[in-house]
Amino acid sequence: MSEVFRRYGAPLGLMILLLTGIWVVAMVVLPYFVMVEYSFHPNLPGPEIGGPKDIYTLDNYASLFRGIDILAWDFPDDFRVFLRTIWGSAVVTAVCLVVCYPVAFYLAKVATPDRVGFLLLLLVVPFWINEILRTFSWYIILAFNGPLNAVLLALGLLDKPVRWLSGSGGVLIGMTYAFLLFMMFPLYNALQTLDRNQIEAARDLGAPGWRIHWRIVIPHAKPGIAVGCIMVFVLAASSYVVPALLGSPGTRWFTETIYQWFFEGQNWPRGSAYAFVLLGLCVAFILAMMRIFRVGLTDIAK
């Protein structure tokens, strides 16, 4: 804070702080505060807002969990969607990790510098295209009469075409593709800082490849793994475009449920409450990752 004043002088420094303050309050704090406020009120018609029925209530939050019967393994629709979102995001995260680790290791520790530049360019180029267009291209690729089925049939790997888009498959494939780089770069950055001599020392002491990865490389990459997992999970759980385009009616995502409560159900309090449940899920996941990988907030910020 004093650094700002020292660098820019009192008038300009004050201005910078003031503008930043207005930005934070108006764009971040106030909207959230309004949403929090909404989420604890019943959904009332306009005239009754502020009236005697407008009380603080936890009903909007409770409604997500109401009707759960674990013994009968029976869940209400919204909660079923919530569970599917957690499960699907976890699967996407795991697949991204498995796909990215070998690539990131190759880029960081094996490939020559020229080749790294070229490969990184290849990785990044598709992401210069708008997310909706990219997702639509997967819609075309995965279509019943699309190129993927055609190729697999031509290669004799399939007897009859598969309906990729009817289950969760399309959503999971689309999300893995959409969020791959958010796993790749944290992993690549973490692995880049690993001293090659560490790998050679382990090899010299007799360690086979898998043990070098298990004992030396993966522990070193932990902060990168944690950051990558957090990014991908949070992005997947809060993704709207991919499930909307590649999903089927049976594979609704929790973001779509929130959207429906807001705009189709015209129930902003319920929508707000659900949005905070999603936020809570993401925060819980972040805390769990930090605990599992024993990394602090500062490691993640790096």
């Binding site: 001599n197 560490q198 050679e200 020392a201 010299d204 002491l205 004992r215 030396i216 522990p219 070193h220």
Partner: protein, 362 residues
């Protein structure tokens, strides 16, 4: 326990560059052997070839008579100590030391026991559960040695491991390394560009230049009887006097220099009339006495560096050549003042004459 290491015509080419050219030598079991040379002389390449990280372009490496071709670093009876040590920062000290045992499937209790025994050997008995970043430079050094010793190698390979330490600690670690080597009896092959390190620790030293083995021998032989002009100039200080060989008889050669004929012991490969260099160490030059007949020269004192136990006197000969005389501060007299003319002489037995050739860059 330890075995001979044999390099047989080892050559290493990287594209058009030949980093190591036809190096053949035998390091005897239990020996402390150093490769000494300036950076880029090929010594690190030799170490990587010995440890198995690089396969030579030609020639063979044999350890205990067994050809090492095709055997990777994890299959060789060698252990490498890296220049930056490459300790595993995320493991405790004892886990570092026991890593090689973990790889070999030794149980945890046994691993811990052997790590503690090694910690006793390196005089760090209480460090087992410390983190690597809690150790000082010298302690890290010793842990790296213990980690390498844990796999009971027949040959230890050390890549300038002392270069990161300050002078005092470096000198202390020299003695310690030597002591550990004596105690364990393992063959040590040490890479360095520091002649003090090579000389104080080694049984024998190999001097390398531009990928070629210049000379192999005990430190004193390397210093007193250099085989090539490179060794004479790279190891320690030397005065060089160039000229054709004027006389060659009974192991003594005379070189026709601007100071007149100077005589010294004849090195190998000299021919009468051929270009030659006479090398004489600064500490073997002395002030001339009236009795000195031959091997006399004179120069003007340009300046004097007083170092404490000795003084370096820099002279300029009549032809402009620089001469360095080292006078011991032994109470026999004062060094001459600047500008004075100094008459110096040396015994032919204290000089060596070699065929002219490339010298070390100073």
């Amino acid at each position: 326990m330890s075995q001979d290491v044999e390099l047989d015509g080892v050559t290493m080419r990287f594209g058009a560059v030949t980093a190591v050219r036809d190096v053949s030598l035998v390091v005897k079991a239990g020996e402390f052997f150093s490769f000494l040379g300036p950076s880029g002389c090929g010594k690190t390449t030799i170490l990587r070839i010995l440890s198995g990280f690089t396969e030579p372009s030609a020639g063979a490496v044999r350890i205990g008579g067994r050809d090492m071709a095709g055997i990777g670093p994890n299959g060789r009876p060698t252990a490498l100590i890296f220049q930056n040590l490459a300790l595993f920062p995320l493991m405790s000290v004892w886990e570092n030391i026991a890593f090689g045992l973990e790889v070999r499937g030794v149980g945890k209790a046994e691993r811990r026991k052997r790590a503690e025994a090694l910690l006793d050997l390196i005089a760090l008995p209480d460090a087992a559960d410390k983190r690597i970043d809690e150790l000082s430079g010298g302690m890290k050094q010793r842990v790296a040695i213990a980690r390498a010793l844990a796999v009971e190698p027949q040959v230890m390979l050390l890549d300038e491991p002392l270069s990161a330490l300050d002078l005092k600690l470096r000198q202390h670690m020299r003695a310690e390394l030597r002591a550990i080597q004596k105690k364990t009896g393992v063959t040590f092959i040490y890479i360095t560009h520091d002649q003090g390190e090579a000389f104080t620790m080694s049984d024998r030293v190999a001097v390398m230049s531009r990928g070629v083995l210049e000379q192999v021998g005990p430190p004193k032989a390397i210093y007193d009887d250099p085989a090539t002009p490179f060794v004479a100039t790279f190891v320690g200080e030397n005065n060089a006097f160039t000229g054709p060989v004027a006389l060659l008889a009974d192991g003594v050669a005379a070189v026709e220099t601007p100071f007149g004929p100077l005589r010294g012991r004849a090195g190998p490969g000299l021919a009468s009339g051929a270009a030659a260099v006479l090398f004489v160490r600064p500490e073997r030059l002395r002030e001339a006495t009236p009795g000195d007949g031959a091997n006399r020269l004179a120069g003007r004192v340009t300046h004097v560096d007083f170092e404490g136990n000795f003084a370096n006197v820099f002279l300029k000969g009549p032809d402009g050549s620089a001469i360095l005389v080292q006078l011991a501060n032994d109470g026999s007299g004062e060094p001459p003042p600047e500008g004075a003319t100094m008459d110096i002489a040396f015994d032919p037995a204290n000089a060596v004459v070699l065929p002219d050739g490339p010298r070390a860059r100073s």
